[in-house]
């Protein structure tokens, strides 16, 4: 192993030792010396253009040095508080403000603005500027981001983010000097699933959230740590609420999961929490829903849950761990029915062997992989955060990516190796050039789309992937490179908790057949899913829908019970890695909605077979008994020795297709969100326009 060289230098009279290659700013950080900056961002390339981080280096040229980009040298003596530095900072601050509109009272960034904060600490209290200020025309860059370009300080963070992280080279600077202007050149909506992160990156109020515009002041907001459920990544978020209403969502930093990015669905979908919500129980009467009280709703429901009846339960995509457990127990112990399935995509595996359905390498593990093989998945839409992670490694380390599946734009280059299940065999047959190429990697990472495993030949595809993994060394003692990428927030928890027929009950397919035949007495639809068309769910004698949004599934029901979405309950969530994370309730349940598990507990009591928990703590204790892995809170369980899954090897000739076709509409909250509807339309229009232009 090569020895890591270190450098010792003195900053403001204090000595520090840092690894070779560190910048002066890094070294200062190690001493907790604050150096003000605008353009520098630890997850973006270094631009060195704002000139706010100037420091004085002894023995160098008689001018200050930019600490963000100047490498620390052995024996260097640096001053960050000398007169030269103070003058330089004051000067730069004054230049930044001469053309800045100083419209803080009407700026959404005020209160969390780098320019404000740094100006207070390092600026002067007056300007000498007596000329006309510059004004820049605002640009329309889509429904996500509002621009006030006069406020722009040209730090280029947004440009670097779009180019480096998001992989869409749509932002840039046009013109020179004081006319330099940041934008998209041809005015059009940004086509990125990560565009919203530019709002957080913008150190001033040039790019702010369009949906949040003029709705609140950040100092009035209550900030609650939570977990995003728009995909199965489990991005860490902070839900900001005011007066019992969610006002906005921003990311929390977690290097192991989302670094500090979140997808736009996570950030902008919160208006969907207040659209199309079910606010009280509804009973269908002559084809029309009528609001009723909970008491009457329960009275209506209880006779339909008689255990002599055939009762089937289908579970949607957005349920927390506790709620899934409570529903599963309610179905299986209280109602004595094994006809329950949460695998709405038809996922071929069950929960008997945990690594068979997890993203075993972990999201952070992508950083140490040396090649990626994607099978039947579009990570850009199914998990934009993981896709950005792959892209980072493709860009920084030239990590090769191979793809068997629909040919889609992943924002980075990959080798396309066919789109049929039979193409997988070519990757490991040992004869083809590609199989020889793959065999030479030490840490190959295979990503299998969860929806692809929901095909009727899902198990066969899984077995093929397993063979591939075995042949190319993805299943060695120190590297587990076979991963399933889920795209629904409750997918992993449902498998962990056994929310599928464990005895001889009907799974999804059989339930649908039974519905067609009319042999189901009572169908319980717990939550919505985009995988199964609501039309197929008609046919039970009585259908009850338990969910938060009045979407397609609610319409086929006879009775509707309102429960809570993710922001309204304390809950555990398990992401595609199998990582358990806790979210806190940021607001109270809307109107008459109740926390899901309480509904099942109450019903079980009414039916005379009460579930054995009376509080969330007791419920969690039961969950932990069922899934001991969950005790590793916010960290994934230790790796196990690989066990192969037995099963058929049937493969169809059918091509893999894109399963997430409408990114902005892939669950009931997104479907309810007006902002997401606008985003979906703008991306559709752009696609159309591009097709027209050829």
């Amino acid at each position: 192993m090569s020895e890591i060289k270190t450098i010792t230098l003195t900053i403001d009279g204090q000595q520090t030792t840092v690894p070779a290659g560190s910048s002066i700013m890094d070294a200062a950080k190690s001493l907790d010396i604050e150096i003000p900056h605008f353009c520098f961002h630890k997850r973006l390339s270094v631009a060195g253009n704002c000139r706010m981080c100037l420091v004085q280096v002894e023995g160098g040229p008689p001018k200050p040095t930019a600490s963000c980009c100047f490498p620390a040298g052995d024996g260097m003596v640096v001053h960050t508080q000398s007169d030269m530095v103070k003058d330089a900072r004051k000067g730069v601050m004054e230049f930044l403000l001469i053309n800045h509109p100083l419209d803080c009272p009407i700026c959404d960034q005020a209160g969390e603005c780098d320019l404000q904060d740094i100006s207070v600490s390092y600026g002067s209290d007056q300007s000498h500027f007596a000329e006309q200020k510059r004004a820049v025309e605002d640009k329309d860059i889509g429904p996500k981001i509002k621009t006030v370009m006069t406020r722009c300080i040209h730090c280029t963070r947004c440009i670097r983010f779009a180019t480096e992280v998001a992989g869409v080279e749509e932002m840039g600077a046009t013109f020179r000097g004081e006319n330099m202007s940041v934008g998209t050149y041809v005015e059009s909506a940004l086509q990125s699933e990560l565009a919203g992160n530019m709002i957080d990156l913008c150190p001033v109020g040039a790019l702010t959230s369009k949906p949040y515009a003029f709705t609140g002041r950040n100092w009035e907001l209550i900030k609650t740590p939570s977990v995003d459920i728009m995909d199965a990544v489990g991005s860490n978020i902070e839900v900001h609420s005011r007066a019992g209403k969610v006002m906005r969502i921003i990311p929390r930093e977690n290097d192991e999961v989302n670094e500090e990015w979140i997808s736009d669905t996570a950030r902008f979908s919160y208006d969907g929490l207040y659209e199309n919500r079910i606010t009280s129980p509804l009973l269908k009467n002559k084809g029309k829903f009528r609001a009723i009280g909970w008491k009457k709703a329960v009275e209506t429901l209880l006779p339909k849950l008689d255990n002599k009846k055939t009762i089937a339960g289908l579970v949607g995509d957005l349920h927390a761990v506790e709620d899934l457990f409570a529903f599963n127990a309610f179905m299986k112990t209280t109602l004595g029915s094994d006809h329950v399935d949460a695998r709405m995509n038809g996922f071929a595996l069950d929960g008997s062997y945990r690594p068979s359905y997890l993203f075993n390498t972990t999201i952070e593990g992508v950083d140490s992989a040396d090649a990626v093989v994607i099978i039947g998945s579009n990570p850009r839409l199914e998990a934009p955060i993981i896709n950005a992670r792959i892209r980072k490694n493709v860009v920084n380390r030239q990590m090769p990516v191979y793809m068997v599946g629909a040919e889609v734009d992943l924002t980075y280059k990959y080798k396309h190796l066919g789109d049929k299940p039979e193409n997988i065999a070519e990757l490991y047959d040992g004869k083809s050039a590609i199989s020889k190429e793959l065999a030479k990697f030490e840490k190959p990472l295979i990503i299998l789309g969860a929806d692809t495993l929901g095909r009727s030949d899902g198990l066969g595809i899984y077995k093929e992937a397993e063979k591939l993994a075995d042949k190319i060394g993805a299943l060695s003692s120190n590297w587990t490179g076979l991963n399933v990428l889920h795209n629904k927030a409750s997918a992993v928890a449902a498998l962990d908790l056994g929310v599928y027929p464990e005895d001889k009950g009907m799974d999804l397919g059989k339930t649908l057949k039974a519905l067609e035949k009319g042999t189901v007495d009572t169908l319980i639809l717990y939550g919505d899913s985009t995988h199964v068309d609501a039309e197929k769910l008609k046919g039970a004698k009585f259908t009850v829908y338990i969910g938060s949004h009045r979407d397609a599934y609610a319409e086929v029901a006879d009775l509707v019970l309102p429960v809570t979405p993710y922001t309204e309950k304390d809950a555990w969530w398990v992401n595609t890695e199998g990582r358990l994370q806790e979210a806190k309730a940021s607001v109270a349940p809307l109107m008459n909605a109740k926390e899901d598990w309480k509904v099942f507990r109450h019903l079980s009591g009414e039916l005379g077979k009460p579930l054995p928990f009376n509080s969330l703590e007791e419920l969690r204790a039961h969950v932990l008994k069922k899934c001991p892995n969950y005790k590793y809170n916010n960290c994934i369980a230790p790796a196990e020795k690989w066990v192969s899954i037995a099963g058929a090897d049937k493969l169809l000739k059918k091509s893999f297709v894109e399963t997430v076709t409408n990114f902005y509409k892939s669950n009931e909250i997104l479907k309810a969100s007006k902002v997401m509807t606008e985003c979906a339309e703008s991306s559709l229009n752009k696609n159309k326009a591009m097709r027209k232009a050829g």
Partner: protein, 429 residues
């Protein structure tokens, strides 16, 4: 003591006035490409050592010792190619020497590129020509074609085993692309903005490969130095400032033009003996900008004794720059000239660094106002203060170059501002 004029033999650019044939035939008749084979078979280290000794300093403005610069280049390691890039983005106001080299003696540059590439271990050279020099670049392009036809470019030149390919690239009209790292960015197809240094181009230049960037005149001067030897070269000019140099003299002189003259010639001689003297006589002289618009001006008094070399002009707080001598006599409204120069820099700032982007425009607006007398005496101090806040705070030297002329004006001609301001105050009173 008068400096003797250069004989035609001693001139490097024998066809600088365009009176002779610019093509390869003409160049060879004038002795071009003679001895090239010998240069290409000699070890590059020998050449670089000789260049170091010759004290050839970069002709693009900064005056950095060329031999030293070339010695920074790593030997090609087989993994990454080395590049020689010729900076022909001549944009400094007042400067037009490279233009005449490109159109009247382009083969001096081609030969220089061949020898330069050999010295630096590069097999590919790029010539980045200013976009406005379209006609000149066509000439150069023809010259490159001629050299290919004559077997002087391409694979195995003259049987020496040396391979050199030259590519020509036209800029798009940005002054900043004359800054070497902005030039590289532009050459790579990006927005022309200077890079943060370190890393320096010698380690991480064009496409991330070791790169040396030199001015047209510098590169063209290399073959004659190596052929004729340092004794010949060092007879011209003073210690550390040897050789010959093209001076572009413009403004209020009777015979403006490009003149190749020995270094360390006095400014007065250059004006009187080469450029036909100041219009209206030497007594009519007001000020001279000695090295392109970025260099602070000399007062008429300083012009009496100024010596035109890197060290000589530094004594007067200015620099040789590109040796573009802009002469202003007493008929010139000096403040208007300086305001126009400020407008140029406002227009040409790339916009990357805060002080330059915001400050240069501010300085221009102050200059515009104060040069008309609209303002107060305190604002003159403020103007100086702003230039000081910009100078030395940016990635590249553009902002410094934009501020020096303003500072020079305030130093020598503050009284002109004051007169205008007082006059204006009287009027409005």
């Amino acid at each position: 003591m008068a400096t003797p004029k250069l004989s035609i033999e001693d001139k490097i650019f024998k066809n600088l006035d365009g009176s002779d044939d610019w093509s390869i035939k003409g160049y060879q008749k004038r002795g071009g490409y003679d001895g090239l084979k010998k240069l290409l078979t000699t070890n590059p280290d020998v050449h670089i050592a000789q260049l170091k000794e010759s004290a050839l300093r970069g002709r693009g403005g900064a005056g950095f010792p060329t031999g030293l610069k070339w010695s920074f280049m790593p030997k090609p390691d087989g993994k990454k190619p080395n590049y020689l890039v010729c900076n022909a983005d001549e944009g400094e106001p007042g400067t037009c020497k490279d233009r005449d080299i490109l159109r009247y003696d382009p083969h001096t540059l081609v030969e220089g590129m061949i020898v330069g590439c050999h010295c630096l271990g590069a097999e590919t050279g790029y010539i980045y020509v200013r976009g406005e020099y379209y006609d000149e670049s066509s000439r150069l392009s023809q010259a490159i074609d001629e050299a290919y036809e004559a077997g002087l470019l391409g694979k195995n030149i003259l049987g020496t085993g040396v391979n050199v390919d030259i590519h020509l690239h036209l800029g798009a009209g940005a002054y900043i692309c004359g800054e070497e790292t902005a030039l590289l960015e532009s050459l790579e197809g990006k927005k022309g903005q200077p890079r943060v240094k370190p890393p320096f181009p010698a380690g991480f230049g064009l496409y991330g490969c070791p790169t040396t960037i030199n001015n047209v005149e510098t590169i063209a001067q290399v073959p004659p130095i190596l052929k004729k030897g340092n004794d010949w070269w060092c007879q011209f000019g003073r210690e550390n400032n040897h050789g010959t140099k093209i001076f572009s003299v413009s403004g209020a002189v009777n015979l403006p033009g490009n003149f190749e003259a020995p270094m360390s010639i006095t400014l007065k001689e250059l004006i009187n003996d080469y450029a036909g003297g100041v219009i209206g006589g030497w007594e009519n002289l007001q000020a001279i900008i000695p090295g392109g618009s970025s260099t602070p001006m000399l007062s008429a008094e300083d012009c009496e004794t100024a010596i035109m070399d890197f060290d000589g002009l530094r004594e007067f707080g200015t620099g040789l720059g590109t040796a573009a001598v802009i002469v202003m006599n007493k008929d010139t409204d000096l403040l208007r000239v300086m305001t126009r120069i400020s407008a140029f820099y406002k227009h040409e700032s790339c916009g990357q660094c805060t002080p330059c982007r915001e400050g240069v425009g501010w300085v221009f607006r102050l200059m515009e106002r104060l040069s008309r007398g609209e303002g107060t005496l305190e604002e003159l101090d403020q103007l100086y203060d702003v230039t000081k806040k910009i100078e030395g705070k940016t990635i590249c030297a553009f902002a410094d170059g934009a501020m020096w002329p303003v500072q020079g004006t305030l130093k020598h001609f503050r009284h002109l501002f004051e007169e205008k301001i007082k006059e204006n105050m009287k009027k409005s009173a």
